[in-house]
Structure formats: C-alpha cells, structure tokens
Symmetry: C2
C-alpha cells in the first residue's frame, strides 16, 4: 500500500461541510467518489487534518489516503483534478511514509476570517466575506487580538456543543487583524482549534470594534470558561482554513 | 403613475439570465416578483437597459418601472432590498420623468471582462473570471484593442444567432486591457453592443495574446462581416455589465 498526502482548496459555498453524510454533497463525499472511480469501485477512505462546517472555505486543506496502486505521485494530482467537481482543486499530491497521519501529525493550523465592512451590499462578496455594515474601531480590535495570543483555556470561545475530550487549552501563535479598504482580514495561527473557536473569537473582536466589549475582558473570560458570556458566532462564509503545517519535510 | 429608475447589481451565477422565463430563476423574474409583493399581487413590468445571458454579472444595470403608488424615492430602495434575494442589490432608486426609458435613453454602456491567467486553478475565481492557463502576450493584446475603437460594422464579432434589425455599426469609445498580477481586465465602452459582441471580441483578443491571430486582421474582419472567420465566444462568468449612462442629469 502507498500513502498519499494531498493538499486541496475548495469553495465551501455549495457543500454541506467537509464530512461525509449520506445523500448530501460534502467535500469528503466528492473526494471519496473520485478515489472510488480511480480504484474501480473500491471505497478508499480519506483522513483529513480536520473538518470544516457548511459554507466554510479552504485555501489549503490536507488529507491522506492509502492506495494499492503504484502511481507516480504527480499523476495522482492529474487524475483527481480530472475527476473532481470544479469547486475542489488538488494543488499537490505527495507520497508519504506509512506512519504519516493528516490529522495527528499536524503541528500548526492557520485560519483566516474575512469581513467586508461597507454600508452598502456587494453581491459578489456575500459567499466569501461576512458583510458587516457597522463602523469598526480598528485600533481597539488590534489591541484585543493581542490578548488571545499565547496558551489559554478557550472553553468560553468554543461551541457549547463541542465534544472534545481532555484539555481545552490551546496555543495561539498569531492573532492579527488588518484593514485594506473595505476588507478586514483576521489571521489566526495555533497548535489546534476547538469547535467554532475562530468564529466565536471574531464575533467577540467585532463586538470590541463596535465598543460593546472591552479588550481587557478577555482574560476574565478565559478564567470563567463560560460560552454564554461571549457573543455570537459569526457566519461561516468569511472563514477559510488557510494552511496546515506538518513537521514532515 | 410615477416612473422609477433603479440601479442594481447582481451576481449572475445562479440566474438563467436576465429575461423572464416561466419556471426558471431569472433576474427580471425576481425583480417583478418583489414588485408584485409591494403592489399586492399586481404585476408590474420592468424595462431594463438590456438583457444579460446566464452567468453574466452586473455591477450596474438599470431598469425602470411605473407604479400607481406615491412613495418617497429612497423608500423604493429599502422596500426592494428587503424583498429581493441576496444575489441582487438595489443601489439607487430615483423618480424620473414619464418620458424616460431605460433601454431607449441609454447613451453609453460599459462592459468589463475578467480573465484569471494562472497555470493552476483558483476555485474562488471560477464563477467570476474566465480561468485561462496559457501565457499571454499583453503587448500584442493592447495593440489589437486599439483596432476596435471607433465606428465599425461588428457583424463578424456578433453571434450569428443575433436577430437585430438594421445597422450593425456601433461606436466603441474605449477598448483597453490591463494586467494586475494574474488578473487581466478588459474595459469596453460603446454606444451599443450586438449579441455576444464583447465575448467574441475578448475571444479574438485572447487568440492574439497567444499568437494565433494578428492585430492587423481586425479591419479585414470588419469588412468581411463573417462570424465564422472569428474564433470562439469566451464564457459568460468573466463578463460584467459595468455601467449604463443616460443623458438624464
């Protein structure tokens, strides 16, 4: 058996999320359908670095699969791109040691969240940004971003529905926010993320930008570990899984 | 009766074109459905500056309608945006004299066509650009653009299916092409356009950019008036109706 690591991007708009579900169009479903065609009807299961929700995009998502076929690694890219629908694209296929695991070996993930901050409505942005009309205090947001960096318990900033066992401590290496015209970009890099963590954090940061919350509350919220004390989860269409890093060279 | 002029944008991705068709989702159909709700079931017919094909976008399209209601002009914008789906947005509503006609009074139209020129595939561009992988000679394209400016018979550059009666002479005020990274933008302004004219012209210009055709052929093609001598029509998703100008102040 050969193990192949794939790096893909997808436009999440027309998917009901990443994970396979019967009779529903998902990213995993489409990937496994393409692999099944290559393998003449045999079901090949993929393992991704993690799931994404309905409407969430990926600029760079990673998964692996095992195949009985010996195919030059670059040909996997060609074969899959020929078979996949146009909202998924395979950027790279590489043979990896059998010990590699796309989920367990990931050492860092980067998410980005895009807000379009304008009073009107740009119909071309609606699936790719959170359209947000209220004026925002960028300095306040930038200050609040710093409070999230480092090792913290993110219970208050993760969905109460989360089923993760064990510690809810995560390390964020970077939480930054930049404005370029009407576009506001949040960059969040960390060693791991809890369910809905980025979307809840960005919701809080937008509250700070409107003067509804204060940057200095963050540490208190970490300590209280209560999701109900933080505001709403921002919508999925602004969120991008941007990169997944491995120690594998 | 009051006449109202509306300026809208729409994302053409999920529409089967502008013009109403039974049981099919069109821009006109959605606009008239919204107007019918405002008018308590009465069918209000709109007149647009022109149609756009399936998949073609509008950054600024214009239409007018007549209403028995006396509503402050800005309230029309609010009412329609509340009732319209999220892929249509009304930017402006203005009361106009009863003599105004969105189609017959248009004195200039601007179209833009966007090409994404990259070897890979960017899944986020596929509905908004023509994804074109071959390298292009921008200088050759820019030179060819100049040949299109001015008054010419565009028969060779319009669909053989066109049903326009009368002259196929049109005046193009501007035909330019700019590159910004992977993005190539064509700007085409004129007093009027024949069916598929922009998409056939851009198809020819991309042939010039690949060295398949020569800029100097344009005058000969104008003279021969034969659509079959020009290459293919580029896909709709790169095309935007960008602006419609009226003499109305």
């Amino acid at each position: 058996m050969e193990k192949v690591k794939c790096t893909i991007s997808y436009d999440g708009t027309d998917f009901s999320g990443f994970q396979s579900q019967p009779k529903i169009r998902t990213v995993q479903g489409e990937l496994e359908k393409a692999l099944m065609k290559v393998h003449k009807g045999e079901h090949i299961r993929i393992q991704a670095s993690g799931r994404t929700d309905a409407g969430v995009h990926a600029k760079s998502q990673t998964f692996h699969f095992e195949s009985p076929y010996e195919i030059p690694e670059h040909n996997w890219k060609k074969a899959l791109n020929t078979l996949l629908p146009c909202d998924i694209y395979v950027h790279e296929t590489r043979k990896v040691p059998s010990s590699f695991h796309a989920r367990f070996d990931a050492i860092e993930k980067e998410y980005r969240y895009y807000v379009w901050n304008e009073e009107g409505t740009d119909v071309f942005k609606r699936n790719y940004f959170y359209l947000f009309k209220c004026p925002l205090n960028m300095e306040a947001i930038k200050e609040a971003c710093k409070y999230f960096e480092g090792k913290h318990d993110f219970t208050a900033f993760s969905s109460a529905k989360a089923t993760v066992k064990g510690s809810k401590e995560r390390i964020l290496y970077e939480v930054t926010c930049n404005q370029n015209g009407n576009e506001i970009e949040f960059i969040i890099r960390g060693d791991g993320f809890l369910y809905n963590m980025v979307r809840i954090m960005v919701g809080f940061l937008l509250d700070v930008g409107q003067g509804k919350r204060n940057a200095s509350e963050v540490h208190d919220l970490f300590a209280k570990k209560d999701r109900r004390l933080v505001g709403k989860t921002v919508p999925p269409q602004g969120l991008y899984l941007w990169d997944v890093k491995y120690s594998l060279k």
